[in-house]
């Protein structure tokens, strides 16, 4: 059955047969009222069956540029200049000739050059001024002919004018386009075979219908083949955003490692945003150049739990009952209730601990954070973090390194380096560097063991390990994105083409 022709092949072959000679694909397409690309695709399929031979020809065509077109209307500058000299009696100063020629002053240099090269004028200096003398009666310009010929819609010029055409190209009066033309003909030796194939007629079933199925008619018939070798057209259907798919993937890994997802608000009081994390109230991270303050319609929130508030306040002022010295600095409720956009996801960990004070617990969150940055290729006012905590009895720094190793393995990073780090709310603190397949060693995120000043005010006695990953950065690496603004790309064409695969 594979010998049979598709409907498309049949139509094209029949037309080639009718024309009986080598014809351009464009002509076939025209005759058949089909797209040229489709016809070429069909011709290729026929060529692969050795029925048709395709010839590829490069065709050079010429057309006038805007400047060239302008000269067809106004005349070439050198011709204009020459007539200026003529009007003035065959001898004139350069400036006078220009003035009487109607030349655009910008082209006067070109005009003089070509008038001289063509041997129409002689140029000399008299008393410091440039003087032109005409040497011929009428200016014979092949260039004008070239432009004239092309202006009539021709794509080539007479062969005697090739030199002038070259000049016109150099002067950018004419542009050159090379196009590929496909021509096809039936291979002579196969004429009989083609004839036979065509004479078989349209055999076989087109659409399979319920009637054909119920009658069983298909048993006696064969099916008409379709061309299934072609590349399908691009289409736009519904799908997910690649960055959302990436976050879905991360979430899957976290759940697989036994972490439970939690959430928290974008707008926070500084109590949750910093105080509960033992960030001193005069820390630079709270300054307006670092974090967004909320100014309207409300700039302060309130304290929900006075007992917890008092414990946090004591820890800041003198360490409370934690054995810490605290910050030895007055603690202000005004600062504590100030509203900000959360600069990290760690307040969410505190809100989780507030509700879960006994282990074992493992929690994670993947969500948006805000920093007062000007949007650029490397900085955004918004970024996502994937972070979490592990609470259990007897956890140690080595356990933290173990969790970091398994989380990083989960996202495909096997080689790690640990560096002591510093965060106000963890001690010891660890910075993790990972060997990324594309980027080399990159900083993956921070982690540590929550300080007693952070956990004790909640009455938590167990150890809490905390970790965070710059998830947006991992996504950018996976997608080969260099500009942070492309995380939230607003280019629908890009989105329609893009996908996250892991």
């Amino acid at each position: 059955m594979s010998e049979q022709l598709t409907e498309g092949q049949r139509t094209v072959l029949r037309e080639l047969m009718n024309l009986g000679q080598r014809v351009p694909a464009s002509q076939l397409a025209n005759n058949l009222n089909q797209g040229e690309e489709r016809v070429i695709s069909i011709l290729n399929s026929l060529a692969s069956r050795s029925l048709v031979q395709i010839h590829t020809r490069e065709i050079v065509s010429h057309s006038l540029t805007n400047e060239g077109l302008g000269y067809v209307e106004s005349g070439l500058p050198e011709v204009l200049l020459f007539s200026g000299v003529k009007v003035l009696g065959g001898k004139a100063t350069f400036d006078d000739a220009v003035a009487h020629s109607g030349l655009d002053p910008n082209t006067k240099g070109i005009a003089m050059n070509w008038a001289r090269k063509n041997g129409w004028v002689q140029i000399s200096k008299e008393d410091g001024t440039t003087v032109l003398r005409s040497l011929v009666d009428t200016p014979e310009s092949e260039m004008s002919d070239v432009l004239e010929q092309l202006s009539t819609g021709k794509e080539s010029v007479s062969t005697t004018h090739t030199e002038s055409l070259k000049q016109a190209l150099e002067r950018k009066l004419v542009s050159e386009v090379v196009t590929k033309k496909f021509e096809a003909e039936i291979i002579g030796a196969k004429l009989g075979e083609v004839d036979q194939l065509l004479s078989v007629g349209v055999k076989g079933l087109g659409d399979l219908t319920p009637e054909i199925l119920s009658s069983g008619a298909w048993k006696k018939e064969s099916f008409r083949p379709y061309n299934v070798d072609i590349q399908p057209a691009y289409a736009n259907y519904g799908k997910k955003h690649p960055y959302a798919e990436f976050n879905d993937w991360l979430r899957e890994i976290m759940v697989g490692l036994g972490f439970t997802e939690w959430f928290g608000p974008y707008v926070e009081t500084e109590f949750w945003g910093h105080d509960t994390l033992f960030v001193p109230q005069d820390h630079v991270a709270r300054e307006v150049q670092d974090q967004f303050r909320v100014a309207a319609p409300y700039d302060h929130g309130f304290i929900m739990d006075r007992k917890y508030y008092k414990a946090v306040k004591a820890v800041h002022e003198n360490g409370g009952d934690t054995g810490s010295k605290g910050w030895d600095w007055p603690y202000s409720e005004e600062v504590a209730t100030r509203l900000c956009l959360r600069p990290h996801t760690t307040p969410v960990s505190m809100r989780f601990l507030y509700e879960h004070r006994e282990g074992p617990q493992k929690m994670f969150i993947i969500d948006r954070n805000f920093r007062s940055e000007t949007l650029s290729a490397t900085h955004g006012q918004e970024f996502d973090q994937c972070e979490g905590i592990i609470m259990d009895k007897g956890l140690s720094l080595r356990d933290l390194l173990g969790y970091l190793t398994s989380i990083c393995k989960g996202v495909g990073i096997e080689k790690l380096k640990f560096k002591p780090g510093q965060f106000p709310f963890t001690e010891p603190s660890v910075e993790t560097f990972g060997k990324h397949e594309k980027l080399g060693w990159i900083e993956l995120g921070g982690s540590g063991i929550f300080r007693p000043e952070v956990t004790r005010p909640l009455g938590i006695k167990e150890t809490v390990l905390a970790w965070g990953l710059g998830s947006g950065r991992l996504y950018m690496a996976a997608m080969g994105i260099n500009d942070i603004r492309d995380l939230f790309s607003r280019d629908l064409n890009w989105l329609r083409r893009s996908h996250f695969v892991r």
């Binding site: 879905d248 439970t260 707008v267 967004f292 409300y298 720094l397």
Partner: protein, 556 residues
């Protein structure tokens, strides 16, 4: 914080030859990182808690201890100079504290002077909170006549030539015309009197925390003996700043002498005071936190590698001597971290995670994912946008006047508020994509922020879904069928109703509210031409937005 050092200087302070690789690896293990090397200049990033590492001397001290060239508690001998600083009454509410030291016989060349100034700047900007809590002044010791006085003065009566100037200025002029006065004036300007430091010959040393005198406060390459003073509002911070800078100068070979500060209430303070602080920690707690089984001696070695003094008491406890230039030790856990660093992070083996818990996604995430799947099934393309937006887009272009969470310090008006609805965001999205193929069916599932006084943070954060369709022709009946498909597959068949309502977002007669169990939960319609033209959109648009519950229960 970046510290810039000269490599030859750093290596000579370290005292032994080191390859750059060894230096880099060592710094990595003590919380520092090489940012850049250019010729003889090396830039080292130091963690902000280690103010004692903000200088070449400080970094060298840490490296020396870590590589065991000179480990254990570093001692700086202090001799009493017998000199006095007399604090006058009236500074309590302005800038009450002062600590000073004298350093004799320090080397100084142009490079060193630059470094001393750098350390002074770095310390006052970070540790001193931009001079608010503490500020530092260095003076030519030999030009001073002791005792030195620190007292309040009426601004107009303050007269001296400030650093970098040739002419005498009074207090108000300095605040107005001197760049440091303009920058730091607000720290003291509101007070009727300002703090002034002057000597027994009535020469002004400085107007803390603004500016030094040009005569006494200018170090030259001739200067060998220095008088250092730190003033501020927090005694501990002031002491620490003095200790850090004095220790650094002592590392350069200076001999330290102390001075007596006499406060008006009769108390005295002999500064600097390098007697170490004591902390006793149980060996068990140390091992439990790090996850090791170190002996007392191994712990002591690790402590000495990080610059602490240490000895065992009663076998089970370690007594730690904390150097006075370390201001990051608040709690035993801070010492334990240094034991881990001294042991070497590169020697710590990750342990296999043991904590068994069942993981699960948040119910809201599951609901959001369900909505996303249904939207994709109906042929919508998911988009993701910033949470931040502009009031112009959310309200002006939409002809809306809804409250919006507004930030006070945005870098750009385009990202100055939190979105209070997804519809304007998606309209803006399609207005940017009019070159892309039509039809365009897009959706976003994400949170919006609605001001709400009753909430702890005055904001109600609501998960929302918005779907939008634009084409040459759009059809609201089809959109309604899609909303029905969505809601029915969320289990809301027979719970939802559409009720026509005039809404300025939409063409009159072509919009309705979406109610769930009688409660308003969203809206849909064909966008009004006026709004389309505000967005510069040339195609008709139908859209809906539905507010999702925070659990799978729609009654909440």
């Amino acid at each position: 914080m970046i510290v810039e050092c000269r490599i030859d200087d750093l290596l000579s302070l370290i005292g032994k030859k080191l390859s750059m690789k060894k230096l880099e690896d060592t710094l990595f293990l003590v919380k520092a990182e090489i940012e850049k090397i250019e010729g003889n200049i090396i830039e080292i990033e130091v963690n902000p808690d280690r103010q004692d590492m903000l200088s070449t001397e400080g970094i060298a001290r840490v490296v020396r201890a870590f590589l065991r060239f000179e480990s254990g508690l570093k001692k700086y001998p202090v001799k009493k100079s017998g000199k006095q600083i007399i604090v006058k009454p009236g500074l309590n509410k302005i800038r009450p504290f002062i600590c000073c030291s004298i350093i004799k016989g320090i080397p100084s060349d142009d490079e060193l002077i630059k470094e001393y100034m750098h350390l002074q700047d770095a310390l006052t900007s970070t540790h001193g909170r931009n001079r608010k809590k503490a500020s530092i002044g260095l003076y030519v010791y030999d030009d001073l006549e002791f005792p030195v006085f620190y007292g309040p003065q009426i601004p107009e009566k303050i007269k001296f030539v400030p650093l970098g100037y040739e002419i005498e200025m009074d207090g108000p002029t300095i605040m107005k015309d001197h760049e440091k006065g303009v920058e730091f004036g607000p720290i003291i300007q509101a007070h009727k009197k300002w703090p002034l430091l002057y000597d027994s010959k009535d020469q002004v040393l400085s107007l803390p925390p603004i500016i030094n005198s040009n005569y006494l406060g200018r170090m030259t390459t001739e200067t060998r003996n220095l008088f250092v003073e730190v003033t501020g509002t927090h005694l501990l911070t002031v002491h620490q700043a003095l200790n850090i800078i004095t220790a650094s100068l002592a590392e350069r070979g200076g001999k330290v002498e102390s001075v007596t500060v006499e406060y008006p209430d009769g108390t005295t303070d002999e500064t600097p005071d390098f007697r170490p602080e004591n902390m006793t920690i149980d060996v068990v707690d140390i091992n439990a936190m790090i996850g090791l089984d170190l002996t007392g001696n191994e712990i002591i070695q690790a402590l000495e590698r990080t610059g602490f003094g240490a000895k065992l008491v009663k076998v089970k406890q370690v007594q730690v001597l904390i150097p006075k230039y370390r201001m990051d030790i608040l709690h035993p856990v801070d010492v334990i971290e240094d034991i881990a660093i001294g042991y070497g992070f590169d020697n710590l083996l990750p342990a296999m995670p043991q904590t068994m818990t069942l993981g699960k996604v948040n119910p809201v995430t599951r609901l959001k994912n369900k909505v996303r799947d249904l939207m994709v099934g109906m042929g919508y393309h998911e988009v993701m946008n910033y949470i931040m937006s502009s009031p112009e887009l959310l309200n002006d272009r939409m002809l809306r006047d809804r409250p919006v969470v507004t930030t006070g310090n945005p870098k750009s008006r385009n990202y100055s508020v939190l979105r209070n609805s997804l519809l304007p965001i998606l309209l803006d999205f399609i207005s940017q994509n009019q070159h892309a193929d039509y039809p365009q069916k897009i959706f976003e599932v994400g949170d919006i922020a609605i001001p709400d006084e009753s909430k702890e943070t005055r904001v109600d954060q609501v998960p929302s879904v918005c779907g939008l369709l634009t084409d040459v022709r759009v059809n609201i009946t089809k959109l309604m069928a899609e909303i029905g498909f969505l809601l029915r597959n969320l289990g809301l068949d027979e719970h939802f109703t559409f009720e026509s309502e005039v809404n300025s977002d939409f063409i009159q007669g072509r919009s309705a509210n979406i109610k769930i169990d009688g409660e308003q939960r969203g809206f849909f319609g064909e966008i009004s031409p006026e709004i389309l033209s505000n967005f510069g959109i040339g195609y008709p648009v139908v859209a809906f937005e539905i507010f999702l519950p925070r659990s799978t229960d729609w009654t909440h």
